[in-house]
């Protein structure tokens, strides 16, 4: 996790426990960290410093943060092509992430994975995945291990609503429920899979697709980090106790294009739609407002968080840019264990 440096809050109302307050502030900080990270990714792309493409998580930060804050470090996650947020929220180091995004030797995967394949055993990150729904089996299997080894861990599988089109999701939800596995499927419905609206590709009711298999399923405003966290906590605790898998449908929005190169988006969604999500439903803005309202923080303190993290991310970028590529001789290492 991003070290939470100095405590930015000023006063705390009596009604919140200090634990809660610390959580809110940590979640705020984490969301800002992700956003600042992604801003740098976009910048790297624009400056033509990044090989290939990347899919930004900006706008969806509340989901990764709300959920990962409900997990232990030893718990597992699996992530997607839009995975930077999940990895950071689970504790990844920006230095090693940027290095990986640039294909450098110091990166999480020695440069072999890139943006879509960040993986890290130390933080329980089983890997981002460039196959839509590609990690549903893996997350379910990690939960299988947890149950078999009785190690008390939980696995969370993040995926976009596009993954609802992949049959394997239903296969593994069935398995998870039959075996009562501690796995939570988290559907990030940002309304689009690439350039197509989810209503064009998704018949019926999303939640029912999980309850039909007996899963405990709930939907939540994916822009409200506190709500996400509360729901996640309930389902994660339940799964950890052995009561079986859960499913969380988070409604959200990606502010940027499908990937960094998707600039002209008007043929598939309106600027007006983008604008209203950004201004009315931004998870960081709204949590910030609430923190101020509740007198848990003041505006300058929050601004400071932003500035600190922006500086931190810039430094991380510098580290990565300066870092060397792997040696060509490494190309056929790591094929077999």
């Amino acid at each position: 996790m991003i070290p939470s440096n100095d405590n930015p809050m000023t006063t705390a109302t009596e009604t919140k426990s200090s634990q809660d307050v610390a959580l809110y502030l940590r979640m705020y900080r984490q969301m800002v960290a992700i956003r600042q990270f992604e801003a740098q990714v976009n910048d790297l792309y624009t400056r033509a410093l990044m090989p290939g493409l990347a899919h930004l998580y900006i706008g969806e930060e509340a989901i990764a943060v709300g959920i990962c804050e409900a997990l232990e470090r030893s718990d597992y996650i699996t992530s997607t092509h839009r995975g930077h947020g999940h990895c950071l929220a689970k504790g990844a180091s920006p230095n090693l992430m940027f290095a990986e995004l640039l294909g450098k030797r110091a990166g999480y995967c020695k440069g072999k994975g890139g943006s879509m394949h960040i993986a890290d055993p130390a933080t329980g990150n089983l890997g981002a995945n460039a196959i839509v729904c590609g990690s549903a089996g893996i997350a379910t299997g990690a939960a299988f291990t947890a149950k078999h080894l009785k190690n008390n861990r939980v696995a969370v599988c993040f995926f976009g609503e596009g993954a609802l089109g992949q049959g394997v999701l239903y296969e593994v939800m069935n398995l998870a429920q039959l075996f009562k596995l501690p796995v939570i499927y988290v559907c990030e419905n940002n309304s689009y899979s690439e350039y197509t609206h989810f209503l064009e590709t998704t018949a019926g009711e999303i939640l029912l697709r999980a309850t039909a298999f007996g899963l405990d399923a709930e939907d939540v405003d994916g822009q409200d980090v506190r709500a996400v966290h509360t729901t996640a906590k309930r389902l994660i605790d339940r799964a950890r106790k052995g009561d079986g898998p859960g499913f969380i449908l988070c409604n959200t929005y990606r502010y940027h294009g499908h990937h960094v190169g998707d600039i002209n988006r008007e043929y598939y969604r309106s600027k007006q739609e983008e604008h209203s999500w950004k201004t009315e439903r931004d998870p960081i803005l709204n949590l910030g407002k609430w923190l101020i309202e509740q007198k848990l923080a003041d505006a300058p303190a929050l601004e400071l968080v932003g500035n600190e993290l922006e500086a931190e991310m810039k430094k991380a970028v510098e580290f990565a840019v300066a870092s060397p590529y792997p040696d060509v001789s490494e190309v056929n290492e790591d094929v077999y264990a």
Partner: protein
């Protein structure tokens, strides 16, 4: 607006992507049972923009956005093909054919035979191959060898805009399931393409350049690599012949073997993994067919036996390049 409307002049140059689109547009105009389905094929015209404009001309009943259900819509296409349609299925990245193997191999490829010839499956799967786009291991594979291995399927790997148009039209008119692999790196490549109707028959190799000293048998974008290497070889006095099988099945063994017999040396170039893949089949066909004429073992050059790495300096060494082909050919010719 599809490029085919642009003109009828002879020496028209269009891109590979435009050639593919033109083939589809012409066939859709000709036959109302031809339709396209896949992810983001309609408004977006695919992420590679290969299909831009088709929705506008043919409407959403014939250019159909699907959910991310490669198995599902491929299976749907099999049934649609059996009952009167000629669907063209779009699988965005060739890496995702993994999800369609049951539909393609256990269903599409076998329906005709298992039914004693009673049902037919006239469908086309268009998909992509090729690395060096910095897309990492799950978006860079060239898995066409799997389909080549399966009786009942036909497999096409066009290497020029001209071939792409003519072969795709032939594929759509073919009464069998045909898989058509496009190299993502070739979409912007330009070439001469007649504006009107023509087809390139399946099963005919094409000699892209004649030569005397060595045969470079190359598929898909490796044809360009071979041609580049041939130019370099020419400078040191080696005359290379470049042969493109164009369709992996049916395979024009004769042309390949004749070329190897003539030059007495052959290198096989294919972007799929080298082991147990296309290079093995072609090398073996030539080693057998030209056995008494070869001066050296057939050399195979495919993708290195590693998942494709993301890091640019690593990725670049996993596939054959003009330079590596040049070196190999030079060595083989003893220069």
């Amino acid at each position: 607006m599809p490029e085919s409307a642009v003109g009828t002049e002879k020496d028209r140059e269009i891109t590979f992507a435009q050639a593919v689109r033109e083939a589809l547009a012409e066939e859709m105009r000709r036959d109302s049972t031809v339709c396209i389905m896949g992810e983001d094929v309609a408004e977006a015209g695919t992420p590679f923009k290969v299909l831009s404009g088709l929705l506008e001309e043919f409407g959403k009943d014939r250019v159909i956005d699907t959910p991310i259900s490669e198995a599902g819509f491929t299976g749907l296409a099999v049934g649609a093909a059996m009952t009167g349609m000629r669907p063209v299925v779009d699988i965005m990245f060739g890496d995702f054919i993994t999800l369609t193997m049951d539909q393609m191999v256990n269903q599409a490829a076998k329906v005709h035979y298992m039914s004693g010839g009673k049902w037919k499956v006239p469908m086309v799967m268009r998909t992509t191959l090729g690395a060096t786009r910095r897309s990492a291991a799950q978006h860079s594979q060239s898995l066409h060898a799997w389909f080549c291995h399966v009786p009942g399927l036909k497999v096409i790997l066009p290497s020029t805009p001209y071939d792409a148009k003519g072969l795709l039209k032939a594929a759509i008119r073919d009464d069998n399931p045909v898989v058509f692999f496009e190299d993502k790196m070739m979409y912007k490549m330009k070439g001469n393409v007649p504006a009107g109707d023509y087809t390139v028959p399946l099963g005919l190799a094409d000699i892209k350049r004649t030569g005397e000293d060595i045969s470079l048998i190359a598929t898909s974008s490796m044809v360009q690599v071979a041609l580049g290497a041939a130019t370099m070889l020419e400078e040191i006095g080696i005359s290379a012949e470049v042969v493109d099988p164009r369709t992996m099945w049916p395979l024009d063994e004769k042309t390949l073997i004749e070329s190897a017999k003539k030059t007495s040396r052959a290198i096989i170039l294919d972007e799929g993994y080298e082991r147990y893949g296309v290079t093995a089949e072609l090398a073996s066909v030539i080693a057998t067919g030209a056995f008494y004429d070869l001066d050296a073992p057939v050399k195979r050059m495919g993708a290195m036996h590693v998942p494709i790495p993301f890091s640019p300096p690593l990725e670049d060494v996993t596939v054959p390049t003009e330079q590596t082909v040049f070196e190999a050919a030079r060595k083989m010719c003893g220069k």
